[in-house]
Symmetry: C2
Subunit: 430 residues, 2 copies
């Protein structure tokens, strides 16, 4: 018998999932392998940057008071008593009338308080000594990089939950993190359902298609910072399916299934949730594609029942699984970043459900535009290769046209703490 | 003696580097390891998608001609002769007055031409048989997904040089790519110079700082799709430096050095290029940070002489090394994507050189804004952790203020084929 399900809004579905977040434990990884991982702790400066007064230029460390009277007509002459490269320290006091040749990054000699860069000096050899001439006065502190001017010991530099990219690595290296405290990657299992699915190396036969979802979802998990474990394709038998799902759930932090959540005769997931004693958070969302997306919870672990249709499966992961996964990684920006932008195509047909249109973003003279790519059906796969955003078209009685301002959700940006709010009004007691 | 160098524009420097691009060879990798790699070949559909007419819904495959007279008052009754799940095929002819129960994804029975979804049917058991009643006529083709409606065999789906993300994986899996043709990653060597540099596990001592550039650049190489090989820190001795650089260059596709390219006493790179017989493309760029960035070529291999200052090193890599590396990966979008946007801070002091300000992008009501992060000096490191864009402020006689429209270059987006054009006018014969 056909089962009527009551749809909830996208925002409400996200809220229910995010009520059940968990956060992962810490582990240490070598800095060379830390790229793409998430910081488990805030990074606090344990020393000043720069750690000492230093020269940011190649030039001469001087005592500024020596240059008060300097002018083009009456240059001041200073004796160069030593050359110090970066990493070295001056070996003697610097007296009035003296200077030290210093290279970029060199610690300032204690007696000096200004830098005369090469371009502002004239070098002279006389009396068996080396000299420089300066044609203008220097201010105390001129051209000096002062200890702590960039960062002071104790400053909070990077928040826990930050994804580690090259710029973060630079800071970690600066503060000596050979081993970096990162969040253990959540292990996300994947079970595919669908007897129509062929493995990638099998030839096509009538009625069957290749299993693209399992590989796509593994890649989505990796992109979001998790560790996928693929349990293969479930057998076409309820008891075997049940055992496989229950067994996999024991070994993972969360379990994704693809397919089997609709109301078809072989859609076993609803029964499996029941037999598991899992709490079904929702089994119908007022969205396209992916209205059948189902999420259930068992002993604190989530079961993400994604659609078997590729576009629906993809969107379901990004809207519901990804934020859960990012929260596990301590991110305070778990949701897809979204903004207003301009739609470049017509969607004249109204739809009661919110549509998420696979799209490509362009930046045109400072405005954000989104161009739908390919067909807009839930079973479509090819458009996913070209999408970098989803355009949200709230459900209602009207269509949309090119030039309309719409909400654009970015697929490949880091994220936001502020979830997209779906303004679609749902009919009550439907 | 202080060496005068003649600066060239950023655009010209990029042009000179990109005249010397090479493209990498192909290798096959398992689809599970293909994420983040670059396609070595275009992906062409070798079969139609869908590969056969199929139902996109759970319902009944029918012969539309049977329903012409159907109405709420006079529903048409059809006998359900078989149930076929996705992956299965019908085992008998379907005659007029008959229907087949089919699940989402099932191949259409040859004799049927429309789908009546569950929601539009009433199921009845009578005379020991199963029946459905339909209360409206169905059009030929109604609700059917037709073979090839999404993609036709021979369609070019994804271009060579595309970075592989989850959406690309979905298409590769659909077309049976267990092994994916990707571009071999270029091997990029890194040598650090600077006797002030401590390894990460060494305690700080006066005058010394930790080597952040080597780790940062390794991460930048990985992010851009290359394979870094770190050769460690060069000794403070010209001959040893020369041998190390010459030796490393033999083993890599390109070599990055950090530091040693300026005019300081221990800046050996200019001499090393000379002794190698390398062709110096440029050694001064009208930009900040990173004006000393130097690129040389030896036997078709590039030597990227990046600054030792962290921000300058970072920017030099992104502006010059990254596009070369992406071109190696067959990308036709090797340059940082850029657009107009709004600056949110004042830079009142004019600068003759183009400045690249480390910034964070926000999308505010469909407009792109860029907010500078941290101090704007070449030796600064901490701002890199928070930047996702560079704001380009062309050189000239004026400063910039909050609200000005500026060019914003995105650090973490895929790229563009159209390099940023630096409008700074350089004085000739300086």
């Amino acid at each position: 018998m056909y089962e009527q399900r009551t749809p909830i809004s996208v925002s409400e579905a996200v809220r229910r999932v995010m009520e059940l977040t968990r956060t992962g434990d810490k582990e240490l990884v070598d800095i060379k392998g830390a790229g793409g991982r998430y910081l488990a702790e805030a990074i606090i400066a344990d020393h000043n940057i720069p750690p000492f007064n230093r020269t940011p230029l190649d030039g001469f460390a001087i005592r500024s008071e020596d240059t008060i009277a300097a002018s083009p007509d009456k240059p001041v002459r200073l004796e160069v008593i030593e050359t110090v490269g970066a990493g070295g320290v001056v070996h003697q006091p610097v007296y009035s009338g003296q200077a030290v040749r210093v290279m970029t990054g060199t610690m300032m000699p204690e007696d000096c308080d200004a830098i005369a860069m090469f371009e502002l000096t004239k070098e002279i050899k006389a009396d068996g000594k080396e000299w420089i001439e300066l044609k203008r006065p220097f201010q105390p502190g001129e051209f000096v990089s002062f200890e702590g001017e960039e960062t002071k010991a104790g400053d909070a530099l990077i928040a826990a939950g930050t994804r580690i990219h090259a710029g973060v690595i630079a800071v970690l290296a600066t503060f000596g993190y050979q081993n970096v405290p990162v969040v253990k990657q959540p292990v996300i299992g994947i079970c595919a359902t669908g007897t129509e699915l062929l493995e990638l190396n099998e030839p096509l036969v009538p009625g069957k298609i290749r299993n693209s979802n399992a590989y796509m979802v593994q890649a989505q998990i990796r992109q979001a910072g998790g560790k996928p474990v693929y349990y293969g394709q479930l057998a076409d038998d309820f008891e075997q399916c049940y055992k496989a799902v229950a067994g996999a759930l024991n070994e993972v932090d969360a379990l994704i299934t693809t397919g089997g959540v609709s109301v078809g005769d072989f859609d076993y997931l609803p029964e499996i949730y029941e037999k598991l004693g899992a709490n079904v958070l929702f089994n119908k969302i007022a969205m396209r594609p992916g209205s059948v997306t189902t999420v259930a919870e068992k002993d604190g672990k989530l079961l993400f029942g994604l659609s078997g249709n590729p576009s629906a499966c993809y969107v379901g992961f990004e809207l519901f699984t990804r934020p859960w996964l990012k929260a596990f990684l301590h991110s305070n920006k778990p949701y897809m970043e979204w903004t207003k932008g301009i739609l470049t195509a017509d969607f004249p047909k109204p739809n009661p459900f919110t549509r998420f249109i696979r799209s490509k973003v362009s930046f045109v003279a400072g405005r954000i535009t989104a161009t739908p790519v390919g067909m807009d059906k839930s079973q479509v796969v090819t458009s996913l290769a070209k999408s970098d955003a989803l355009v949200a078209l709230p459900g209602g009685s009207r269509g949309y046209k090119a030039g309309d301002e719409v909400d654009i959700l970015f697929l490949h940006r880091e994220g936001t703490g502020d979830p997209f709010h779906d303004p679609t009004k749902l009919r009550k007691n439907k």
